[in-house]
Amino acid sequence: MPSIVKPLVTHPSLVRNNLGLTIRDYEGSMSTLCAGCGHDSITAAIIRALWELSTPPHMLAKLSGIGCSSKTPTYFVGGAHGFNSAHGRMPAIATGANAANRQLTYLGVSGDGDSLSIGIGHLCHAIRRNLNMLYVIENNGVYGLTKGQFSASSDVGSKSKKGEANKMAPIDPIQLALTLGATFVARSFSGDKAQLVPILKAGLAHRGFAIVDVISPCVTFNDHEGSTKSYKHTRGKHHVATESDFVPFANEIVGEIGPVGATTIQMHDGSSLRFTKVPEGYDVTDRMAAIDYLRTHQGEVVTGVLFAEEGVPEMHEMNNTPAEPLATLPFSKLCPGSSALEALMADFR
């Protein structure tokens, strides 16, 4: 299907962000996903988050693999550079892209098939490198584009549309990310935009690898009775563990005191992640606490920012690369020239 272009007419009363852009400027082409697809809600949340952050569209690199989720970068920020790569390989492409130009904002969109099966190795190693990007998994527990096979995130006992029950244990991207040392770990639900938008904003502001697993029901192949990734099941089991607001540097509000356990995490760029609700005894900067919390809430869809740690060196810091993009370094800085070569030749005598 060729992409469908939306009308460009915008209402003059639309609010403009710091760049003078309206939210329409952060839209892409029309979605070709099924009506009611969770992914479209996530797309809407991404659009809002980027607009609110005033990210210059052309400074955004949006990348994806293959699958329904990976189609979605076409549907947001038409003015950004997009890369719809190969199945599971997006983290590798993003790693190289980021290595060449660290000044762009990197947003990867993936699915449970893309991230937890064919590309799980790349995801793991992107986490290890603490690649500076926001990595969104649109998790529906099913292969949509190939019509309904179980994915690696399907729960034991969850039923396929044909009634078959999944027998193998699921891979939980959140637990995976926590054990691999991811520095920003959150889960949300496509049906909860109010929660998702600030999480996405915080993930974008985070320096390092931010993974956001978003339960995103597939209305066509996995929204039936017996599925554990349906709207009904997710709503029923939704457990909001933490609530947080993303506070940009310029609008910081001081003096407001949150309830018990509330805390604020200072982000690298001067913004902050302000928690308004954290369960008693839960420290969002304690990796083991997050793992424990998930264990004690098995069977529930635990959401919110579950772990965040600022200040861990990201890939560029580990590699001691310059502040400017490697891609734009002048050739004179890269080529040692003829006299250096002549001198070097003596070493090979």
Partner: protein, 608 residues
Amino acid sequence: MPSRINDFAIKLANVNGTGSASANGLIMQAIFRMGVPVSGKNLFPSNIQGLPTWYEIRVNPKGYTARALDYDLIVAMNAQTYKRDVAEVRDGGFLLYDSSWPLDDELIRDDIHYIGIPLARMCNEAFAAPRERILMKNIATAGALIELLNIDAAVVEQLLEEKYGKKKAMRESNKKALKLGADFIKNNFTYPLEFHLKTMHANDDKILIDGNTATALGCVYGGATVAAWYPITPATSVMDGFKEFCEQYRKDPETGVNNFAILQAEDELAAIGMVIGASWNGARAFTSTAGPGVSLMNELLGLAYYAEIPAVVVDVQRVGPSTGMPTRTQQADLLECAYASHGDTKHILLIPANPNECFHFAPKCFDLAERFQTPVFLMSDLDIGMNDWVTPKFTWDDAYTPDRGKVLTADQLEKIKKFNRYLPEEGTSIAARTLPGVHEKGAFFTRGSGHNKFGGYTEIPDEYAEVMDRLLKKHKEAAGWVPAPIIERRLNEQGESAKVGMITIGGCDPAVREALDILADMGRPMDFMRIRAFPFHADVEEFLASHDYCYVVEQNRDGQLCSMLMLETPVAKDKIRPILIYSGFPLSAKHVIDAVTAQLEELNAIYR
């Protein structure tokens, strides 16, 4: 036998992991410094310690440096391979062995000479530490060879000085061991042997370097900033070299930051993905790998081809299929690389024959990859990559500027109405690309799915075919930009070139040239062509057309270069005569002559 100066071959049989490589390298380098044409071939196992390994050294006053296969002296230091090693000594040749233990009767040949040196006993007496006793046996052997072959002792001393300058104890141990070996020869044998060395001046403008180091240096000079790789034999030393040169040349003198990034990937799938991501963002990026790595990279190479993203892949070919023989050499990835990935794909290959070409072809790979917005392979092989070659000193033209291809700047984008990624100017086959972050007008969606010339998704037959046709045209156009083949015609007295040609590639070059000289002496003159790139340069077709038939010498079983010539040029199948030597060791002129002779005999039998 008359004395033979600077014209002989020796083979050193060792156990790997015993320090033999350093002793062998010392001898090789000393001969090089004596100005004598020399080559060293390391025939080693895929193992770290305990298995047989051989090192061959050939010297030749005319500069023939391919393997000789005719050993005047074999240094047998490995009891595991005694039998095979003894059998390989030429009639009247010499075997040097460790006489700390007696030789079995079955190892005694009455047509060769034996030089027994009690190396283990001498080293056990002279050195205390067990490891040192093993290491120094090799150095003591080198000491014996200094006397037997008349290696300049002052040169050896100088080399030790350079190598162990600050490590006094190591230097002294080495000196002591050298003396042990040398003195034993002086006291017990006639020396030097009838074949030995004499100083020449053939290497004044030359260096001794392996191809992988040369490739790494070429990547630094070509301006590569992002390198992604996964460890694999025999390509690992490309990245080792790149790192070392980057540490030397790419540390910003003011800030101390690294003007490079080396990413050790989780696998080759990721390594090529990183290269594509970095190139998409405008960096010069490369990966180094071998055949098994290219197999994994196939998927994304198709993406880079179709989405038109530059990528440079250094393939140091080893013996396949599957794991094959990782430490042995072949040119058996030609087809794999030329047509890598599913669907219709064609790539650009540059095929160097020696470290000098590795160095110069590396920047050329980046130029071509960016000009044609496509993957480019540097097709090295283990023989070129891991053996030390005597090659002319590298030079660099400071006037070189990288060919970045058609990349629109912010100013250019500002002026255009609308950017269409895959729409080239009328009459051209390459469309301008844009880099992320430069200008909002340059934004587009890169995809490996069907797309039309505007960059939009398509499943419309004509739109798909239009882009594919242009990609083919683009690949054909590259034939005019790749290095031309090296052609040397053997003109007769009437000034006519030979009726028969011999075509080869890569590391076969020295063996084929030597064979052609010998064949000419036998009254069988043939013209020479070494192909250096794919798509084939126009001169390749011309050479094929202007000869009655051509032998094609390559190191693989299936005649991959032959296949490509038949597929991609109009040459008739019966004009191509494959000479395929693919058992894994570097080529010798003997292999080529034997094969030609066999084919001629067959022909004579038919046409008698």
